[in-house]
């Protein structure tokens, strides 16, 4: 391959991942998800289409969800990244995970981390969302197993539960 014909320059990159500051030297062409998976061993963010269509690599950067395959790791220098491991370990999405479990909202589970990241963004920012809006918000996350119904059911259940918890 042509890449081996010359030395690839590495860029020192410091990112706060799930609350921990990490510094690595990375090639410019490494996208964020490969960095998370290969450098840090955080394999919960999945690589599938690698051109922004499937949503399996969805992560949170500075509090906003984005496609991890469409951001270079060097572009995340100085930023804060949250992955599914972080949201899971902190308990931030415990209710969402339980609802997915209860309703069989996953089968093979490949899309699930990205779906959970997207769903949590909806739950945080659009607590009044209707079922149609949930469906629309999830349109950027492909699931080839479930047919989506159970996913929408689970998210809707958590939306309602969190709303009730707030007003209680």
């Amino acid at each position: 391959m042509t890449e081996t014909s010359r030395m690839e320059e590495l860029f020192e990159t410091t990112i706060t991942v799930n609350g921990t500051r990490v510094t690595r030297r990375v090639a410019a062409r490494t996208h964020l998800v490969d960095f998370l998976r290969d450098e840090l061993g955080l394999t919960g963010s999945h690589t599938a289409c690698e051109h922004g269509v499937c949503g399996a690599c969805t992560v949170r950067v500075d509090g906003e969800i984005l496609r991890g395959c469409l951001m270079l790791a060097v572009q995340a220098n100085g930023r804060t990244v949250d992955t599914i491991e972080g949201l899971s370990d902190s308990g931030e999405i415990r209710d969402l995970q339980a609802a997915f479990h209860e309703r069989n909202a996953l089968q093979c589970g490949f899309c699930t981390p990205g779906v959970l990241m997207t769903a949590q963004d909806l739950l945080r920012n659009r607590p009044q969302a209707t079922r149609d809006e949930i469906r629309e918000f999830l349109s950027g996350n492909l699931c080839r197993c479930t047919g989506y119904q159970a996913i929408i059911d689970a998210i809707e259940a958590v939306l309602v539960a969190r709303r009730q918890a707030r007003s209680a």
Partner: protein, 284 residues
């Protein structure tokens, strides 16, 4: 797939970025939000020697009043435009169009300038800028120039930008009194590429339409201003007769080509459907 190897620079100022671009020219690509460029790198459809990352340039940021109009930095993200009170007030069409751009995770990264420079025929911002008669502000080491949105889009993925130029900002004129706008798009799912889309605006005084602008996306290599249809609507009451006449005129304005999923005849039909809906909406 994985992107090929490339050099990377993240200039801290526009002047520095322009110097880099002047030096590397066609061997370099500008990286804005990366939501079109990075996919094309990952799929190895593009293999630039260098990426010049515009992400740190403050000169490209921000939404600000300009007279009674608006100036939006080219580096402004779709999501910021979608939620800006100033945009809703002074260029509502943009706020109406933004939710149609891909998905939230993409809108959090993609930029106005990136989309315009990419010039995808199914993209929303090019048609909006043509409808709103926006002016694009372009910088190079040679200086700054302005070009109207109607002259900016040249061909498929091809614009008026030279290889040493950077799109800096877009200026939107003040909205006309009683201006209304609507943005309509048909896609198989929300966020998919548009089969057909329409950016429409008009003012309504004394029951009649004035200053009608109808710009279509997804029907040709560049946004299409439907001039005959606009003329058929201008000065008319937006009643059923007018709408029928405008829909008929659309056939003279548009010669859509088929894409992978939609035939030319279907596109023309859908363009007429959207036109009817848009005029009904503008007349309300």
């Amino acid at each position: 797939m994985k992107a090929p190897s490339f050099d990377y620079a993240r200039p801290a100022s526009l002047a520095e970025a322009l110097q880099l671009l002047a030096r590397h020219g066609e061997r370099a690509k500008l990286l804005a939000g990366g939501q079109s460029l990075i996919p094309s790198l990952n799929m190895r459809l593009a293999a630039p020697e260098m990426l010049i990352d515009l992400g740190a340039l403050k000169e490209l940021q921000g939404i600000a009043p300009q007279g009674d109009g608006l100036r939006i930095g080219a580096g402004t993200r779709h999501r910021e435009i979608e939620h800006s009170a100033l945009v809703a007030q002074r260029a509502a069409l943009l706020a109406q169009a933004a939710p149609h751009i891909a998905h939230v995770a993409i809108r959090n990264r993609g930029t106005l300038g990136g989309s315009l420079a990419m010039a995808d025929p199914a993209a929303e911002w090019p048609a909006c800028c043509v409808a709103l008669q926006a002016t694009l502000v372009i910088a190079s080491a040679r200086g700054e120039r302005r070009v109207g949105a109607g002259q900016f889009f040249k061909a498929l993925y091809s614009t008026d930008l030279a290889t040493d130029e950077i799109l800096v900002a877009v200026e939107f004129p003040a909205p006309a009194p009683k201006a209304r706008s609507t943005f309509l798009e048909l896609a198989r799912r929300r966020g998919d590429y548009a089969m057909v889309g329409l950016a429409a605006l008009a003012s309504r005084g004394a029951g009649k339409l004035a200053g009608v602008r109808l710009a279509f996306l997804g029907v040709a290599a560049v946004p299409v201003l439907a001039r005959r249809a606009m003329a058929a609507a201008e000065g008319r009451q937006p009643d059923a007769n007018t709408i029928a006449a405008v829909q008929s005129a659309i056939g003279e304005d548009l010669q859509p080509g088929a894409d992978l999923y939609t035939s030319a005849a279907a596109k023309l039909h859908l363009a007429r459907v959207l036109t009817g809906r848009a005029l009904a909406e503008l007349a309300r």
